[in-house]
């Protein structure tokens, strides 16, 4: 009897301990998710319940050309950013690691600095530097292309340039993660391999790369999630143009919801984006882990 009561009390204490978390989680996460799912089956505006329309929004979405354009652009952007930013971050991390003391801290700070800037500042800086009439980088573009280029107004240049801005902005964080991973590799492995006559390239291929792989996989996955959520840079730099060549899924959500007042349709799109991110990132992480185990 006493045992049971004791157990019950334990359970009570346990529940009361997780209650704050459950309450906040339900309020700010679970409830909105349920609402978004419900909204996506209605023709609701931004305010008000709307009428149940079943799968209408999803049918419409699947026949919406802009949806496929956006999907393609999201994919293109992922290709342009995820692997390049990880590779660049790895290169920087390897170089920074070879520095020591204050110099290392300074180098790290310099690479991390852009990351602490808000996106509006970042895009403003680049919009000025790349300004068609007055931008300081236009002479550089002139060297490459032979004439000044309005990069955010040119359908071929816009996505690569948004990708460049994004990499510049977010790379510092990846450097930090990879550097932490590098520091976790025991130094004696390098010493032992050096004694056995391994050169630098062999050390990287046989020690650094395999032991760093879990961190690399993590960075790749985080980047994939982050870059699929592209919105701010495109909204601020190119507004989705020209000819929708930088239109992405979240811009579609924004325009439908806040400009056109189609809450239900916007909810359907955002739910699809959510499922897309979950599927792709889980898939990618599993694939990378399998690769890592081999």
């Amino acid at each position: 009897m006493a045992m049971i009561r004791n157990q019950r009390r334990h359970r009570l204490v346990a529940y009361s301990l997780i209650l704050p978390f459950v309450a906040i989680f339900s309020l700010v996460f679970a409830y909105p998710i349920v609402e978004v799912i419900r909204l996506s089956f209605t023709n609701a505006t931004l305010i008000g319940g709307g009428e149940w329309v079943g799968l209408q929004n999803y049918r419409e979405l699947l026949s919406d050309k802009l949806f496929y354009t956006s999907l393609k652009n999201n994919g293109y952007f992922v290709l342009l950013t995820v692997v390049p930013t990880t590779a660049i971050a790895l290169g920087i991390a390897l170089m920074v690691q070879r520095l020591s003391g204050r110099l290392q801290a300074l180098a790290l700070a310099l690479f991390f600095l852009p990351y602490i800037l808000p996106v509006s500042v970042v895009t403003q800086i680049w919009a000025w530097m790349l300004d068609f009439q007055f931008g300081v980088l236009q002479p550089v573009l002139e060297l490459i292309a032979g004439k000044p280029i309005p990069v955010f107004k040119n359908p071929h240049w816009v996505m690569p340039m948004v990708a460049l801005v994004t990499i510049w902005w977010t790379n510092g964080f990846n450097v930090l993660l990879l550097l932490a991973g590098l520091r976790n590799i025991p130094q004696d492995l390098y010493e032992a391999s050096a004694l056995d006559g391994a050169n630098r390239r062999q050390q990287f291929a046989r020690i650094t790369w395999p032991l760093l792989w879990p961190v690399v996989a993590l960075v790749l996955t985080l980047q994939l999630i982050l870059q699929l959520k592209l919105f701010d840079q495109v909204y601020l730099l190119s507004e989705g143009g020209p000819f929708n060549s930088s239109y992405v899924l979240l811009l579609m959500v924004y325009r439908e919801a806040f400009q056109q007042n189609n809450g239900g349709y916007a909810a359907a799109i955002s739910l699809v984006v959510f499922l897309l991110i979950v599927t792709v990132s889980v898939l990618q992480y599993q694939l990378l882990r399998i690769r890592g185990r081999k």
Binding site: L46, P150, K153, P155, P242, F243
Partner: protein, 432 residues
């Protein structure tokens, strides 16, 4: 329930006692919450008007808030009005009226309302009044001004050409050929971008495109919701081709954003400048400070194609719904008085370059004496407003399409016919 009411009564009595202690004079004062989107020179002028109103009308107090122009303003209005947290009166673009009606957030302005304001429907220019009506001819806003595109010109760059008369005013441009001849002449006179407008921005491109379309009698969206009906598509192609030609001949700047388009004219590089009359104060001020470096003038957009018309929009007053509640009649009365007062004082607003929509002011000798504003006042009767569609108007899909499709097309990234096809597809999709 009874308890609650008692409590409320008690608090309001307490409040009243407190307030009467603090401000013994203003017993029946109505407080009006006002939202607008005016920044810069417009904002300063509007704040001065509100200040003057508050000083002259101790029984009404206007609490004004200025919000971010465009989509942020209209999103905030629609969500807040729907739950009863919106303003009592707000400025509204008449081009956005169809969207406001679709959202159901505007209250009708009745004849009784107008009477309280001391206004009558006949007091307003017809195009502006029509733009303030819903499809059922009910009035949903009171027009305040007419703001349109005008043609600024640099007299120095046109010197020696046949396009200036003896007094130095623009003359003889009554067709596209003549206008293009003037552009070529200005180029020969050393103008690097003879016709400046914001070729890389939504508004600049849209207004030129829409004016060229309207001058051919073309329709972007018809009253029954058809995009580019009949031969309007061909007319739209012609409009895009004209703008493309200006780009190819080096007459218009490449990818100029709004500020750059203004700077090109004020720095004396452009002979003509196609922009809203709201830039008139900029030129007046610069000229007064002797910083312009050339003689300037402003005229109505000439008839380049078949019809004498151009794009225009109006700022108006609208009274949003208060969620599920009704606005108290006394408050609505105060709002209407405020609107009436503003209309009668719109001469001060006209100094910002706009034409008063209220005819008694627009036809007054005071306004006629206001130069150069009265030079282009004639357009008030001939203006073409944006299509009466929820996808049209400021910060709407038509503006997005202008920067997304037309702007790159006129820079040679796409043939005009393809661009017009895509424009049609985008707008039809947005209307679904």
């Amino acid at each position: 329930m009874e308890e609650g009411r008692k409590m409320k009564l008690f608090t309001s009595l307490a409040m009243a006692a407190l307030l009467s202690g603090a401000m013994p004079v203003m017993a029946q004062q109505q407080t009006i919450t006002w939202w607008d989107f005016f920044a810069g020179g417009d904002g300063a002028r509007m704040k001065a008007l509100i200040q003057q109103f508050n000083d002259e009308n101790p029984d009404i107090k206007v609490n004004a808030t200025t919000l971010e122009w465009g989509t942020p303003f209209y999103t905030k209005v629609r969500t807040s009005a729907a739950v009863g947290q919106g303003p009592d009166v707000m400025t509204y673009h008449l081009s956005r009226l169809p969207m406001g009606l679709k959202e159901g957030i505007l209250t009708p302005i009745t004849d009784a309302d107008l009477q309280i304001a001391g206004l009558a429907k006949d007091d307003f220019y017809t195009p502006a009044l029509e733009a303030a009506k819903g499809p059922d001819s009910t009035l949903y806003a009171v027009p305040f001004d007419i703001h349109s595109t005008v043609l600024f010109y640099n007299k120095n760059l046109l010197k020696g050409t046949p396009f200036l008369d003896a007094e130095g005013n623009l003359t003889g441009i009554d067709s596209l050929e003549k206008f293009e001849a003037a552009l070529a002449a200005a180029k020969a006179n050393g103008s690097t971008a003879p016709i400046s407008y914001a070729t890389g921005d939504d508004g600049g491109v849209y207004r030129v495109f829409y004016t060229l379309l309207a001058q051919q009698g073309g329709e972007l969206i018809s009253a029954d919701g058809q995009v580019l009906p009949g031969d309007s598509a061909d007319k739209a192609v012609r409009a895009v081709e004209i703008m493309t030609k200006w780009a190819e001949n080096g007459w218009q700047p490449e990818q100029a954003l709004y500020e750059a388009s203004v700077a090109l004219f004020t720095s004396g590089k452009s002979a003509f400048f196609f922009n809203g009359a709201w830039e008139v104060p900029t030129m007046v001020d610069l000229s007064a400070k002797n910083e312009l470096g050339f003689e300037w003038g402003v005229a109505e957009i000439p008839t380049l194609l078949e019809k004498h018309t151009n794009w225009a929009d109006s700022h108006g007053w609208a009274v949003p719904i208060q969620g599920k509640a009704e606005m108290a009649p006394e408050k609505r009365e105060a709002v209407m008085k405020l609107i009436g007062w503003m209309e009668k004082h719109s001469l001060d607003w006209a100094a910002a370059g706009h034409i008063p929509a209220y005819k008694p002011v627009a036809t007054s000798p005071e306004f006629a004496a206001m130069k150069p504003n009265s030079n282009y006042a004639g357009l008030a009767d001939r203006a073409t407003y944006d299509p009466r569609s929820p996808v049209a108007g400021v910060a709407s899909p038509t503006y997005d399409a202008a920067v997304n499709i037309i702007a790159p097309a006129i820079h040679g990234y796409m043939p005009a016919t393809d661009a017009v096809d895509q424009l049609r597809a985008e707008l039809e999709k947005a209307m679904k």
